[in-house]
């Protein structure tokens, strides 16, 4: 009965919410421009701000938060931490109970769902009032919904690029990848790099480590032959498009033909990035944030990156993910102002430079991007920053992203695990995803 009890508890919370929210709605819709932010000339107003941090300081930077606290002594800051895994559940019940933090960050795609439910504050007026658009890359608008409202501020952008292990390439006498590579070039080279070094009939060195996830795995592959996942309006699934199927077939073939290790191998190796870093796979689609782990645990590894390969139609697709900060729509206006004050600080060159140096993600502030650490591996940071500029796309995020992705993912696991033919699997995914999209119209 544990789950039903939790449901019950959640239900209880909402009753108290509906009871006390009726009186408050007028207050929270106050025009943010009218209440204003503290001016330098006036004595700063005392404010309270509750910041929610999933995954605690591993993913943000303590320096930035400390810097904010030092700069704004008038804002009494309270930090609530929770591990990533539990955060979704925790925040859901807190949102229902109206006790969520004033500001927190979560996966960007989830935030679009918050926007459509009215949980997230629309940040468009704040941005218009206080930010100079020219200072930021387009990634600033990663949380823009189709209705034009912006529901979040990126914590930083995490694009994907092709990482290669230099030593494995030179040992095999194969030329290094370039920004002009196509998927076919990559597959052909991966074949040359796959080897059975101890002669037991099974390869123990692979050309490419395929990921089963969305961003580094099936999403870029589905689009590699010119296919699509959702259509432009994000209301129609395109998984049975022959080009999408062809892309997924190429992805599944990586494991089928033995160019890429299977799930069991990767599990034992500790994931794609570890297989790559321990010289067991020569290439993989690397998310920018992977470098922090690789550089920490495999400091001597000689590797670099190039931009994502071009698709069969000559077009490049660079999937980006971001976690975004949201301001809770039911927070008091004071707290919202304080939260925006925090976000303004977060987007300042000072804080964004801290983010750039941390290597955790690409900042959205243009000046800070020039401060990416070019001495730390991978040295070619342009593979990421240029990649975003040329071809950065989200993984077809829309308000029901979480739901349709959850519906599709297990089937993709079976396709890559060779349990399901790509054609059949894509048909099943098409049905499931379309159903989700229709239900959320």
């Amino acid at each position: 009965m544990k789950k039903s009890l939790m449901t019950a508890a959640a239900s209880l919370l909402v009753v108290s919410l509906t009871a006390c929210s009726t009186g408050k709605t007028g207050e929270s819709s106050t025009n943010p421009a009218a209440s204003g932010t503290p001016q330098a000339s006036k004595a700063p107003k005392e404010m309270k701000l509750k910041i929610g941090l999933p995954g605690s300081y591993d993913v943000t930077k303590k320096e930035i938060i400390d810097g904010f606290i030092a700069k704004f002594p008038n804002i009494k800051t309270e930090i609530v931490e929770a591990p990533w895994g539990d955060f979704a559940t925790k925040i859901t019940t807190e949102i229902a109970g109206g006790t969520a933090p004033d500001i927190w960050f979560q996966e960007n795609a989830v935030i679009l769902g918050y926007g459509s439910r009215g949980v997230a504050e629309d940040l468009t007026p704040y941005i218009k009032k206080d930010l100079k658009e020219a200072d930021y890359i387009s990634g600033l608008y990663a949380a823009k919904a189709s209705n034009g409202k912006v529901y979040g501020i990126p914590h930083g952008i995490n694009p994907v690029a092709l990482a290669y292990n230099k030593k494995m390439f030179t040992d095999a006498g194969v030329p290094l990848p370039t920004d002009n590579w196509t998927y076919q070039d990559m597959i052909d080279t991966a074949k040359k790099l796959t080897k059975d070094t101890n002669g037991d009939g099974k390869p123990d060195q692979y050309g490419f480590a395929a990921s089963v996830g969305i961003t580094q795995g099936w999403y870029p592959w589905a689009r590699s032959q010119g296919g699509q996942v959702l259509d432009e309006s994000k209301t129609k699934a395109m998984f049975t498009d022959p080009k999408s199927i062809a892309g997924i077939k190429a992805w599944a073939d990586l494991v089928k033909t033995g160019i890429s290790p299977d799930a069991d191998f990767l599990k034992v190796a500790g994931g794609e990035w570890k297989a790559f870093a321990s010289n067991k796979a020569a290439m993989f689609f690397m998310q920018y944030s992977n470098q922090a782990l690789i550089n920490k645990e495999f400091a001597s590894l000689d590797y670099d990156t190039v931009m994502m390969p071009k698709g069969a139609d000559g077009k490049r697709v660079v999937p980006i993910v971001t976690n975004s900060w949201v301001i809770f729509s039911k927070a008091k206006q004071d707290a919202k102002d304080a939260a925006w004050e925090f976000l303004k600080y977060y987007l300042s060159e000072e804080a964004q430079t801290v983010l750039a140096k941390s290597g955790a993600s690409i900042p959205v502030q243009k000046n800070a991007i020039t401060k990416l650490d070019a001495n730390a591996n991978p040295k070619n940071k342009k593979a990421f920053s240029e990649g975003i500029a040329q071809a950065g796309v989200t993984t077809d995020e829309n308000p029901s992203w979480q739901e349709w992705r959850l519906a599709a993912q297990p089937i993709f696991v079976d396709i890559l695990g060779q349990k399901l033919a790509p054609e059949e699997g894509m048909k099943q995914i098409q049905d499931k995803v379309q159903k989700v999209l229709d239900q959320n119209k």
């Binding site: 449901t7 239900s11 696991v413």
Partner: protein, 292 residues
């Protein structure tokens, strides 16, 4: 008299309030929610029977019921029989009795995360110890947790669940067996009864109410299996239909995609199934359970 009644109500008030607020209210509220669409933020929208008609067409939900029925069919009898046998033997005067009792109880106190992770490794297709032993006996390796045949992973998980749960059932049954009066054994041995008939004629009938209790409890827990599946099939959010349980679906809809109405409908459907199974067990109770 009236005064006494007033005191009675007053003194039971904390309990009654607890019952009303935390059990009765959520119970009926979730029933109401099954007829609504509720995102836990805005007020629930009345949508009539749409959640229920969706439930009937929802293949994932039917798969989850199929999985959980097989899981219960393997887990419940196996665990109960094993617990009874263990309890019977551990009640005898054998060497190192308390050591064995501890050994069988150890998995109960092991956290699922640790136990499940260990079994995940043992049953890994390519690198697991179990398949290593099979291949060294020249038997083919088995894909325990990831087979195309849906029943195999469910069976594996049911067996792991027996490993985890047998200790607690055993303790209940051991206590019951220890309650069997000594003079009955003495009388039986005077009559020249062997161990087998002592067990069937004396021990079993006397502890049968406890066995019934263990059966009902483990059936209910089987239908609510959640953590065992999540830990064994490693990605909580992406369990495929062939390995899903109703509680995982309920969790996903309630907390990951905030469809509380539909999650409530699934909870109620699960409640009805458990109620039906328990009633069937209750019906057969008279045939074999013996109350003094």
């Amino acid at each position: 008299m009236r005064n006494e009644a007033r005191w009675g109500y007053l003194l039971t008030l904390p309990f009654s309030l607890n019952l009303l607020v935390f059990f009765a209210f959520p119970f009926f509220f979730s029933l109401y929610l099954t007829f609504t669409q509720w995102d836990m933020f805005n007020a629930p929208d009345w949508i009539g029977g749409r959640n229920w008609s969706r439930l009937i067409q929802d293949a994932s939900f039917w798969y989850s019921l199929r999985n959980i029925l097989l899981f219960a069919a393997i887990f419940v009898p196996l665990q109960t029989i094993l617990a009874l046998v263990l309890a019977y033997f551990l009640n005898q005067s054998i060497r190192g009795k308390s050591f064995y009792r501890m050994l069988y109880f150890l998995p109960v106190v092991t956290p699922w995360l640790a136990g499940g992770t260990m079994w995940g490794w043992l049953l890994n297709k390519t690198y697991g110890m179990v398949n290593y032993m099979l291949t060294s006996l020249s038997l083919p390796p088995v894909d325990w947790l990831d087979s195309k045949q849906w029943w195999l992973p469910i069976t594996s998980v049911a067996l792991v669940n027996v490993w985890k749960g047998v200790g607690s059932s055993m303790v209940i049954l051991l206590a019951a067996i220890q309650g069997v009066p000594k003079d009955l054994y003495e009388a039986a041995s005077l009559e020249g009864a062997n161990r087998w008939s002592v067990f069937w004629r004396i021990v079993f009938p006397l502890v049968s109410p406890m066995i019934f209790l263990v059966l009902v409890l483990s059936t209910i827990s089987a239908f609510q299996a959640f953590d065992v599946f999540l830990v064994m099939f490693d990605s909580p959010n992406v369990v495929p239909d062939s390995k899903v349980t109703p509680n995982i679906l309920i969790y996903k809809d309630a907390f990951l995609t905030t469809k509380m109405g539909y999650a409530s409908a699934m909870s109620w459907a699960l409640f009805i199934v458990i109620l039906a199974v328990t009633l069937v067990q209750k019906r057969f109770e008279k045939r074999w359970v013996h109350y003094e």
